[in-house]
């Protein structure tokens, strides 16, 4: 039973569907919102009610607060689930929801504000003895930036204090590069407003995060770790749980510190504490106060419905007895992205079979709008062992067809086939290394239906494996191995 009668889902795409599915199972009515680019989208069809809230541009629709609140009130919603992106971390939006008697599914506005400010979060982490990378508070001038950069040590990154998704992060390998960076108009403007800070840049770390659940009373629990090191342009594309080759001592430290940071920041509901790990060192980077794209790997591993836990906790329920971290088995997720939006989905084949979960909003004939995140589909697999999960995901991606759209499927397949991934020895530089090795980046389908496919195989050469791309016309059966 839920405290809520009707949920307005202030999002689109797969995450809107994901939330609607949990609501349906728990007997909560659903209201979808959509933009003019999403008429007829699956989340609109699956919801009990739907309301168009604006033009295609997200600023006019999925971030149009008056129209969204108005839709919630007129259609009888008593809670608002923001999903991820758009308004999910907007403290002002959560306050407006509360002011209109709507429960915002997330932490308090204060916790959102705090989590949104990376400098303040660094201080919170330091305050409870959790390591952070050498860095600064907000910086306001060029001399200050240069002086502090010297203290921190190169390479470093200039980051916006607020904002996420890797946007606005600038890298400087050495002082000359940093001086050049400071000359850029955009950077100067951000310095003048004091909205940037410096942080030492760890070379080729692992990105490991901890899923936490917390109730309004402050009871906080870590329910699983995820390795999200496989990234392209700071965009996660493969996530797995548990992180491979992570020793128990490190796992215990990350779990303990995630709970500490979460508690110290007054966080509640479902969120993620992110760390960079290198060797025996680890550093807190941020707290994401929302459901994440990769929550699914923890779900299939633990059997928890994290969206439900989030809703329940937002409604004031207390934490129950959750299965602790270290659930048996292994889960891996691959995110399939459109390389070039604006095209229409033709032939569509979903993977299936044992241990495979597919989260997607795609259907045949739907358009991939330019306006939003180009995530098309998440394929999540689960198996008793990591080796089994990797093989299963390769099999599942082999079954997947998204016709008419250029996707990153070839890259995902190449990653899964790589020796580094197979052995579980990888870091955030893996994709770069692979692409330098000549991996095909995209899979394109001509309008005539002929598929030019990139297939990547391992070649045993003197004990070392290399990646070789082979183009094969559709219709040739079986994988082409070089």
């Amino acid at each position: 039973m839920s405290q809520f009668g009707t949920m307005l889902v202030a999002n689109r795409g797969e995450i809107a569907l994901r939330v609607i599915r949990t609501c349906r199972e728990k007997g909560i009515g659903t209201v979808a919102i959509y933009s003019r680019a999403d008429e007829g989208s699956l989340h609109v069809r699956h919801a009990d009610r739907a309301c168009c809230v604006g033009e295609a541009d997200a600023r006019d629709s999925y971030m149009n607060v008056p129209n969204i609140i108005s839709a919630a009130l007129e259609l009888g919603a008593d809670a608002v689930h923001p999903g991820y992106g758009f308004l999910a971390e907007d403290a002002r939006f959560s306050e407006i929801c509360s002011a209109h008697g709507l429960s915002f599914i997330g932490p308090s506005a204060d916790a959102l504000l705090l989590a949104g400010d990376k400098c303040r979060m660094r201080a919170v982490a330091e305050g409870c003895g959790v390591p952070v990378l050498p860095g600064t508070d907000g910086i306001t001038s060029r001399p200050e930036a240069l002086r502090k950069a010297g203290d921190i040590g190169y390479p470093l990154v200039l980051k916006p204090r607020c904002g996420g998704g890797g946007r606005g992060i600038r890298y400087a390998a050495h002082e000359d590069a940093f001086r050049g960076l400071l000359e850029e108009r955009e950077v100067r403007a951000s310095l003048e407003s004091g909205r940037s800070f410096l942080e030492h840049c760890l070379q080729r770390p692992r990105h490991i995060e901890v899923q936490v659940l917390a109730d309004r009373e402050g009871d906080t629990r870590a329910v699983g770790l995820r390795d999200c090191s496989v990234q392209r342009s700071r965009q996660k594309i493969i996530e797995e749980a548990p992180p491979p080759r992570l020793d128990r001592a490190m796992e215990a430290r990350l779990t303990r510190d995630a709970v500490r940071v979460s508690k110290a920041s007054g966080f509640s509901t479902a969120g993620t504490v992110e760390f960079l790990v290198k060797g025996n060192d680890y550093y807190f980077i941020e707290l994401n106060p929302r459901i994440q794209v990769e929550h699914t790997v923890t779900e299939v591993l633990t059997g928890l419905d994290l969206v439900w836990e989030q809703i329940r906790l937002a409604g004031g329920s207390v934490l129950g007895r959750h299965s602790p971290t270290g659930a048996p088995g292994h889960a891996i997720q691959a995110r399939i992205y459109a390389e070039r939006p604006g095209t229409m989905v033709g032939d569509l084949r979903f993977p299936g079979g044992p241990g495979v979960r597919v989260d997607t909003h795609l259907r045949r004939g739907c358009l991939i709008p330019y306006f939003y995140d180009p995530l098309l589909m998440k394929v999540i697999v689960q198996a008793p062992t990591r080796a089994g999960a990797r093989i299963r995901l390769r099999r599942a991606l082999g079954e997947t067809r998204i016709g008419g759209v250029e996707t990153n499927l070839p890259l995902l397949k190449a990653l899964l086939a790589s020796a580094a991934f197979e052995e579980g020895r990888y870091h955030t530089g893996l994709v770069e290394e692979l692409e330098e090795g000549g991996c095909p980046k995209r899979e394109a389908q001509s309008p005539a239906g002929g598929m030019v496919k990139g297939e990547v195989g391992n070649r045993a050469s003197g004990g070392r494996r290399s990646l070789t791309a082979v183009a094969a016309r559709d219709g040739i059966k079986g994988a082409q191995w070089a």
Binding site: R36, C52, A56
Partner: protein, 158 residues
């Protein structure tokens, strides 16, 4: 607002072909910058892309379009610019802004929408004879919902 017009191509010279990718690029530029019209002229060929009414590409989902446009030629609509409650008159008891059979002008106030206690005027962007009022007084409207259906009138027509 009417449907998006099909792409009109005006080709002169020998280089008449246009790669679909180039066309996609142009449409993308239009969408991202919210342009309604783009003309490209490189000496050999001229391409004019024009959007009428601003319905974006993404709205053209193929199967079972929810917002199917039942209007025939010559009919135009006034649509809700916000989500909220629609009112036909300035205040309860007063006569409505428009009635069926009346002519409305561009810029004329045809109703009010209350969104979170803020009341905004709905103005017409067409000149036409009102033949249908599609929403009840005090009813909820969503963004882009049809409020009035009119027979389009040219500026010169009485």
């Amino acid at each position: 607002m009417s449907r998006r017009r099909p792409v009109r191509r005006l080709f002169t010279g020998k280089e008449a072909g246009l790669p679909i990718s180039e066309l996609e690029g142009l449409v993308r530029i239009m969408d991202e910058n919210r342009l309604t019209e783009v003309t490209v002229d490189d000496g050999y060929r001229r391409l004019a892309l024009k959007r009428d009414g601003g319905r974006p590409v993404g709205g053209l989902t193929a199967e079972g379009d929810v917002g199917g446009d039942p209007l025939s030629a010559g009919l135009v609509t006034v649509q809700a610019p916000a989500v909220g409650i629609f009112f036909r008159s300035p205040s309860p008891g007063m006569s409505p802004f428009v009635e069926v059979g009346k002519v409305i002008e561009p810029g004329q106030v045809v109703g009010l929408i209350e969104t979170l206690k803020v009341i905004s005027e709905v103005t017409s962007d067409v000149r036409g004879l009102v033949i249908g009022i599609e929403v009840d007084d005090g009813g909820m409207v969503e963004f882009g919902q049809t409020l009035l259906v009119c027979e389009e009138m040219d500026q010169g027509q009485p």
